[in-house]
């Protein structure tokens, strides 16, 4: 009997306390809810594509239209350099990559505000929401990538001056870095939006500016030498450039800068998770 009660005393499954240690990332908790993450990904997919017939088609039309606009404005009118690549492919490559990163960041930045209702009712690892968002955005990215590849093939067959090469193999790494960086920055913003709602507007606006600070509509090579370091300080720059290097074969970047992007991403992600975990504790008291 004694043994039994001693056992009882020590076998608590959960102990709720005001603060957890800051290094307690609760990633194990997140892992045990992996089925939830998949179900949320699947929910996003089903819900979006059930609502509108145009759902997937939208992802076909949008990149094409955006690329046409870019080609006309920046290529034909402003006559920006495209490293001698076909402008259409050049812009579409940049746009495809940028789209994934920015949607990851913007949609994860709404985690707390968009889910206040459900977060107020039931516990599950809050991190599963932004993680699932990043994964479900892959679906839209895949469609856009497909559109890009179709045009790439067309240009190849038409004999355009492009040469896809082995850097193509870096694609999974590029996607992973973008996903994690978008996630890290997004959850930092979402943690801050619990205190400052208008930060949300800043994000949408800031992402537009951010795009112009990234070689999406111009190649890195067209940036004056003395400003290149500034461009390279942007962790997305190597991703966009290596993507173009792999698919189109031309870029002035040293792919080693990807290591910088990776380090930056790791730092952002860690910071993000720490802040996020801190906020999730008492977030419900401030909405």
């Amino acid at each position: 009997m004694d043994l039994q009660s001693a056992d009882v005393q020590t076998s608590w499954d959960t102990i709720l306390r005001p603060q957890r240690a800051w290094w307690d990332l609760r990633l194990r908790d997140l892992w045990s809810y992996r089925d939830l993450i998949w179900l949320m990904v699947w929910r996003d997919f089903v819900a979006v594509y059930k609502q509108t017939v145009l759902g997937p088609i939208w992802h076909l039309i949008q990149p094409i239209l955006t690329t046409i606009v870019f080609t006309v404005i920046f290529g034909t009118i402003a006559k920006l350099s495209t490293d001698d690549l076909p402008p259409f492919l050049f812009y579409m490559a940049g746009n495809t990559v940028w789209f994934y990163f920015s949607t990851c960041l913007v949609s994860t930045s709404k985690t707390f505000t968009a889910n206040a209702g459900i977060f107020g009712k039931v516990y599950f690892p809050r991190l599963s929401v932004p993680v699932s968002i990043v994964i479900s955005n892959l679906i839209a990215f895949a469609i856009r990538l497909g559109v890009f590849l179709a045009f790439l093939l067309y240009y190849l067959l038409a004999g355009a001056k492009i040469n896809p090469n082995l850097w193509l193999l870096a694609l999974p790494a590029l996607i992973l870095i973008m996903a994690l960086l978008g996630l890290g920055m997004g959850i930092i913003v979402s943690s801050l939006t619990t205190k400052y709602r208008d930060l949300q507007h800043l994000v949408t606006f800031g992402m537009q500016l951010f795009m112009y600070a990234t070689p999406v509509i111009y190649p890195l090579s067209s940036v004056p030498e003395k400003w290149q370091w500034l461009m390279l300080a942007n962790p997305i720059t190597p991703i966009v450039e290596v993507f173009r290097l792999g698919f189109l074969g031309t870029s002035s970047i040293d792919p080693l800068y990807l290591l910088y992007s990776t380090g930056f991403t790791a730092a952002m992600l860690l910071t993000g998770i720490l802040i996020f975990n801190h906020v999730e504790n008492t977030f419900m008291d401030t909405v």
Binding site: I15, Q19, L39, R43, G120, V122, Y196
Partner: protein, 428 residues
Amino acid sequence: MAAPVILIENLSKSYRLGVIGTGTFCGDFKRWVARKRGKPDPYSKVGVLDHENRTGDTLWALKDINCSIQQGDAVGIIGRNGAGKSTLLKILSRVTAPTSGAVKIKGRIASLLEVGTGFHPELTGRENVFLNGAIMGMRRAEIERKFDEIVDFSGVEKFIDTPVKRYSSGMYVRLAFAVAAHLEPEILIVDEVLAVGDAEFQKKCLGKMGEVTEGGRTVLFVSHNMAAIENLCTNAILIDNGRIIMQDNTAKTMQYYLETVLPSVIDDIPLSERKDRSGNGSIRLTGFHIEDACGNKLIAAHSGMDIVLVFSYQSHAPEPLKDVDIGFSIQGKETLSVLYSSYVGQTFKTLPPEGEFRCLVSRLPLSMGHYQVGARVTVCGQESDWPRNAVGYLDIEAGDFYGTGKKGFGASAPLLLMGEWTIKDYTS
């Protein structure tokens, strides 16, 4: 002696008021400017729900709670509005963290705080069962295994492949409850959800919850439906002002609540000064009493007599108020009746700044007992004043409702109906 599954040690939860921030950069900046210039805070709210349990800027929703809950218990949590019940449940279900103290829990907790938590309207019932189950911590395989049982219990088989946006609220609750009930959590937290389903389903839920406790699992149940708590719970915890006042068997605790705690709120502070209210304050209820048909003030009434319920009010609105609708409720262990003036086609087009709302109830159809009266006023459809706890009491003594001198069935059947009995002869 059963082992404790929940152990609460010195648990406190405070909310800081006024320092939370306005929620925007702009707002915080404006506030800062106003403070610098010695102006009042442009964001401070006037006349919103206040609370008696605050010291300075800090509101203690829970203060030094200690208790343990044994395995297999069904525990009801009772207390007035704003007493801290919901805060306690929120901490237990890990929605928010405590300010100090600790809660130790053994086993999986599932909370059913509100209907259809996490239901996505576009998805079908089937899809939502999976999603909802996962949100509550079930593995996919586990849900698959129990799927048929869940659907069976919910009674919505026919619509399981229909998007839940087409469901009635009743179907919604059933499905949600079915998922939670089959979670087989060691501890189930239920907060007032059952109020939505129909009577038959409520019974089924109570039965299921009873089954859950018999299976050695623990249920925490918060409800204003005293009858449901009495049916389901063996023990009850009474919370008032953020403290546990009593933890004992249900009957004793409930009796103490109804006879001691609840009246003390109503009797100690005049209605006009009470803070447990919401609404924009254009009208404020200031008192309640009952009168007989001739206008004599009564302490108690008896069944079958004509009484007038009198709600006095004051209005500080600068302009005369239009379209005023007042309603009152009568509550025993559960709500017995709600009557708004608009139900009988009356709204008050104009209103003097001070006066009484008077409602004549002929032949009072209540049996002897002690009832609480609640009241709420709206102006043009906007809530003006709603004291969250009762505004007063209705003490009913046995009376000649039927006009036959018979007293009738007694207090256990609170509603009195008048009827005429006849016989139809099948043989002729």
